[in-house]
């Protein structure tokens, strides 16, 4: 017989826990839900847009009554649970009905804080918490004129904005000097106040409410200083309090909230709790993302998977008042131990403040221009050392390299028709619609439903902004992002486990780290295959089935399922014989298109998979090998002609390029890797947008690293200057090895170095000669196992003989 799970509280946190639970253990429990409100589960955060008339109740429903039916969940709406018999394991509702449980989940949420001044219980005094409150406000707006909103925080301002749009005269009363003092500092708070005054709101600052006036119904508010204003409606939005009424009645340990451990379990092991009612590690949360993380962990333990720990969340906030662009995160007030970087342009309505502690971002406030909010929030969560780019930090991520969209990427300013994701043609309106109609809350969900930012990822920041401004807050866990859905471990943990425990196969990694999916998935398998090969080059065996098709077939798959073939041309050099052989192959196999690539070689398109070995055989016969144009490995070494011919050339750039290509080809890397060597500072080989670039000068060689000419153009950082070709090669090997050993799979060198910092790379590769030599030696050693031509291996028929032939041909 199934165990019984009872959920008390049919709000976002509780229902999300059930959704997570049904995903992983759909048959484990008979589930009964008690909700005090007469609805299914709706998105409470979107009550503000409902009040403002921008959305309807139906549009904010997350789980309809049908959803409960379809999942065989017994739902009691409008039934408040008033007691729990913990000995007999049953809950008791106000109407006397009962339900017994094996596991109980309390998700009682929070209550609006009604300031206990005289008259607070008069008709016309309400909170702003549920659909009923919104209905009351909308009803009141029909025949009353003036409203006082007590509370100048996020909730109060959203309520005030909505009531104003409903045609009421609104005065916001705030006890502090600064609006939204939990999210804003005094400067940005003042800018916000001015903007909202411009829209028609009135403010009474530093005003302490003394009494609500009126007979049965409210008629006004009196303050401590004796002044009065009239009001037909008073909305108390002075904060929320975790609803611990039930927990206290049944003797369950609660302080500000119901106290839970890292598995969301209360002091009664049969009772779990999630959402705004809980207190975890001393913190309570009133934002949605932490609740969802809690839901995920709680579901995991209810399903008795026994893994998953909630470690708290860092939160960020956006104000959902149309046309006001505001972002804040972390500790933005600062103290004696912090430093501030501030930019203020009052005329343009822009204010930004970053708070740094030990060269790491600890908080951020942005007003008017929040485009880089998601980036700062990422740096804050990752605790990235920003000293290497501190002077350009304030100007945003684009200034670490020109993304080419400057001024055109403010999400709030975009119209619904404007395209956000250029790869998949997704407009802003499309994303917003998916978020609201499908009830999406995370970047992953938006990617899955709309494909926005799911291809090249360059619009991720924009999508995050749209998500944040539509959902209202965008918060995240402090822990590292998991590699994929098969596990909760981040890349660094996995790499360390492989190193420290001598794990030499994908299978052993999955077993050691308790992967949820026996086979892994298309995201983690290629990563794990690379990680074991990089850590144990002599022992790990390559798993072809865990490589993307291009690396398995050693050619580039094209949209029609044919392949393209690129033979290597060392340093961009070729010969009449090689060109003749390429021409012969093109004739013999009726190659429809021959193209010169950006990497100084020749690409043959439209080749059928079964013809690949024959094509390679002909190219091999002319002395050519695979150009690895398809792999996470060295692609090309681009060169200019250099001192041998060029009147400006200072060194033999072509010759050095050939040497570097001979040194590095075939190496397994986290992502593709490009090298260039220019013979003089005119830099015709464009070495300063490559992963490793050499610019020859009269006195030696400048070494540049971590450039990128792709999605986001990023000029290289200067690593150092050396005097000889041998040194160039040693530094190159050491740099590549550090990248191979420490970057995450699918990180190009640019994002990797932005994460770890140029100083760190210099420390390992430049400052410490012993470290450099050791890295280079490990690189040379690993190359012993990777420098055999994959084309020749397959032409011989000894490797992957079945890959290129059909299983059977019929008819």
């Amino acid at each position: 017989m199934k165990e019984k799970l009872v959920l008390v509280g049919n709000g976002m946190a509780g229902a999300r826990t059930l959704e997570e639970l049904l995903k992983i253990a759909p048959e484990k429990y008979d589930i009964t839900v008690f909700g005090a409100e007469p609805y299914g589960n709706y998105n409470r955060i979107l009550l503000s847009p409902v009040l403002a008339g921008e959305k309807t109740i139906d549009e904010i429903m997350l789980n309809t009554l049908e959803w409960y039916e379809e999942n065989n969940i017994t739902l009691h709406t409008g039934k408040k649970i008033v007691n729990v018999d913990r000995k007999a394991c049953k809950v008791i509702a106000a109407d006397g009905s009962e339900a017994s449980y094996d596991r109980l989940l309390l998700a009682t949420g929070s209550n609006p804080f009604i300031i206990p001044v005289p008259g607070h219980d008069k008709a016309g005094v309400i909170g702003f918490r549920d659909i009923q409150d919104v209905d009351t406000m909308l009803e009141c707006a029909k025949n009353h004129k003036s409203v006082v909103v007590i509370g100048g925080g996020l909730l109060g301002l959203e309520a005030a904005n909505g009531l104003m749009l409903q045609g009421m005269t609104v005065t916001v009363v705030h006890i502090m000097d600064t609006l939204m003092e939990r999210q804003m500092d005094p400067v940005s708070g003042d800018m916000l106040k001015q903007e909202l005054e411009g829209k028609g709101l009135s403010f009474l600052m530093a005003a302490q409410t003394a009494e609500i006036l009126g007979e049965d119904r409210v008629s006004g508010v009196r303050f401590k200083d004796g002044s009065e204003i009239s009001a037909d409606l008073v909305v108390m939005a002075a904060g929320i309090r975790p609803n611990i009424e039930l927990a206290e009645r049944i003797g369950l340990h609660a302080e500000r909230g119901i106290v839970v451990n890292d598995t969301m379990q209360t002091y009664d092991p049969k009772i779990y709790s999630v959402g705004e009612c809980v207190q975890h590690r001393g913190e309570t949360y009133g934002l949605v993302a932490p609740l969802f993380e809690q839901a995920k962990v709680c579901a995991n333990h209810l399903a008795e998977y026994g893994i998953g720990i909630y470690e708290g969340s860092v939160t960020s906030t956006k104000l959902k008042v149309t046309g006001v662009d505001l972002f804040s995160a972390g500790d933005f007030i600062g103290d004696d131990t912090t430093e501030e970087i501030v930019m203020k342009d009052a005329a343009s309505g822009i204010y930004k403040k970053l708070v740094l502690k030990d060269n790491k971002i600890s908080g951020a406030v942005m007003y008017g221009d929040t485009v880089d909010g998601a980036w700062y929030f990422q740096l804050l969560r990752d605790q990235t050392d920003v000293s290497d780019f501190r002077e350009s930090l304030m100007f945003g991520q684009a200034h670490l390299g020109d993304s080419g969209h400057s001024g055109e990427n403010a999400a709030m300013a975009m119209s619904d028709e404007m395209e956000i994701c250029g790869c998949n043609g997704v407009t802003k309106g499309c994303v917003v619609k998916a978020i609201t109609t499908q009830g999406l809350f995370t970047l992953d969900e938006v990617r899955a439903h709309t494909k926005a930012s799911a291809s090249c990822g360059s619009c991720t920041g924009l999508v995050e902004q749209v998500l944040a401004s539509t959902v209202g807050d965008y918060s995240a866990s402090t822990k590292a992002t998991p590699m994929c859905k098969c596990s909760d471990h981040g890349h660094d943990v996995v790499r360390a486990a492989i190193r420290d425990n001598h794990l030499t196969s994908i299978q052993s990694v999955r077993e050691f780290l308790e992967w949820r999916e026996a086979d892994g998935c298309a995201a983690c398998r290629p990563a794990l295959n690379f990680y074991v090969l990089a850590a144990w080059p002599a022992e790990a065996v390559d798993d072809p089935q865990s490589r993307f098709i291009n690396e398995r077939a050693h050619a580039n798959i094209q949209k029609d399922g044919t392949y393209s073939v690129v033979p290597r041309m060392w340093g961009g050099l070729t010969t009449p014989n090689e060109l003749r052989a390429i021409a012969d192959v093109a004739d013999k196999f009726e190659v429809p298109v021959v193209k010169v690539t950006g990497g100084q070689r020749i690409d043959l398109f439209g080749i059928k998979k079964e013809d690949l070995p024959a094509v390679w055989s002909d190219l091999n016969a002319a002395g050519m090998v695979s150009g690895h144009a398809y792999g996470k490995t060295l692609r090309t070494v681009k060169t200019c002609i250099g001192s041998e011919w060029c009147r400006f050339g200072t060194q033999d750039s072509t010759g050095l390029g050939v040497q570097l290509e001979k040194l590095t080809w075939g190496s397994n890397m986290p992502h593709k890797f490009k090298i260039a060597v220019s013979g003089c500072p005119r830099n015709c080989a464009e070495a300063t947008i490559k992963d490793f670039g050499v610019v020859c000068v009269d006195s030696g060689y400048e070494l540049h690293v971590a450039g990128n000419g792709g999605i986001k153009v990023r000029a290289t950082d200067l690593l150092c200057k050396v005097a000889s070709e041998d040194e160039v090669k040693e530094y190159c090997g050491a740099f590549i090895q550090l990248y191979r050993e420490e970057a995450h799979y699918l990180d190009r060198t640019a994002p990797w170095i932005e994460r770890v910092g140029l100083s760190y790379v210099k420390e390992k590769v430049v400052d410490d000669a012993a470290s450099r030599q050791a890295l280079n030696e490990r690189f040379i050693e690993s190359q012993r196992y990777s420098q055999s031509d994959p084309w020749a291996e397959r032409v011989s028929g000894k490797v992957a003989p079945n890959e290129f032939t059909p299983l059977k041909v019929i008819g």
Binding site: H449, D519, P526, I549, G561, L807
Partner: protein, 103 residues
């Protein structure tokens, strides 16, 4: 009318891999899972026609190599929020010999 065709043996296909059956009506992808079950789908992703035989196989699913759609090996249906279906074919395995029922 049934049209069962012998196409080869289980060992002809790598574990977590796939090979192609060329037919006059187009390619059929024949898959082998980690636990040696065999499935056959039309070798065309319902999204943009990507060759599913070239994807990465995991569990009962193949991920299309072109745009990462996940397709169920059991019924050809796209997983998650994506919608679409690659046709699937009945498969029999007897003593390691695979038969596929072509339509």
């Amino acid at each position: 009318m049934s049209n069962w065709i012998a196409v080869g043996t289980v060992d002809d296909i790598p574990k977590l891999g796939s090979r192609v059956l060329q037919t006059p009506d187009g390619d059929v992808a024949v898959f082998r899972t980690a636990d040696d079950r065999i499935f056959a789908l039309r070798d065309q992703c319902p999204h943009k026609g990507g060759p599913l035989s070239q994807g990465i196989v995991h569990g009962n699913t193949v991920t299309c190599p072109l745009h990462n759609w996940k397709i169920s090996l059991e019924n050809g249906e796209a997983q998650g929020p994506d919608e679409g279906c690659a046709g699937h074919y009945a498969v029999k395995v007897d003593a390691g010999n695979i038969q596929v029922e072509l339509k």
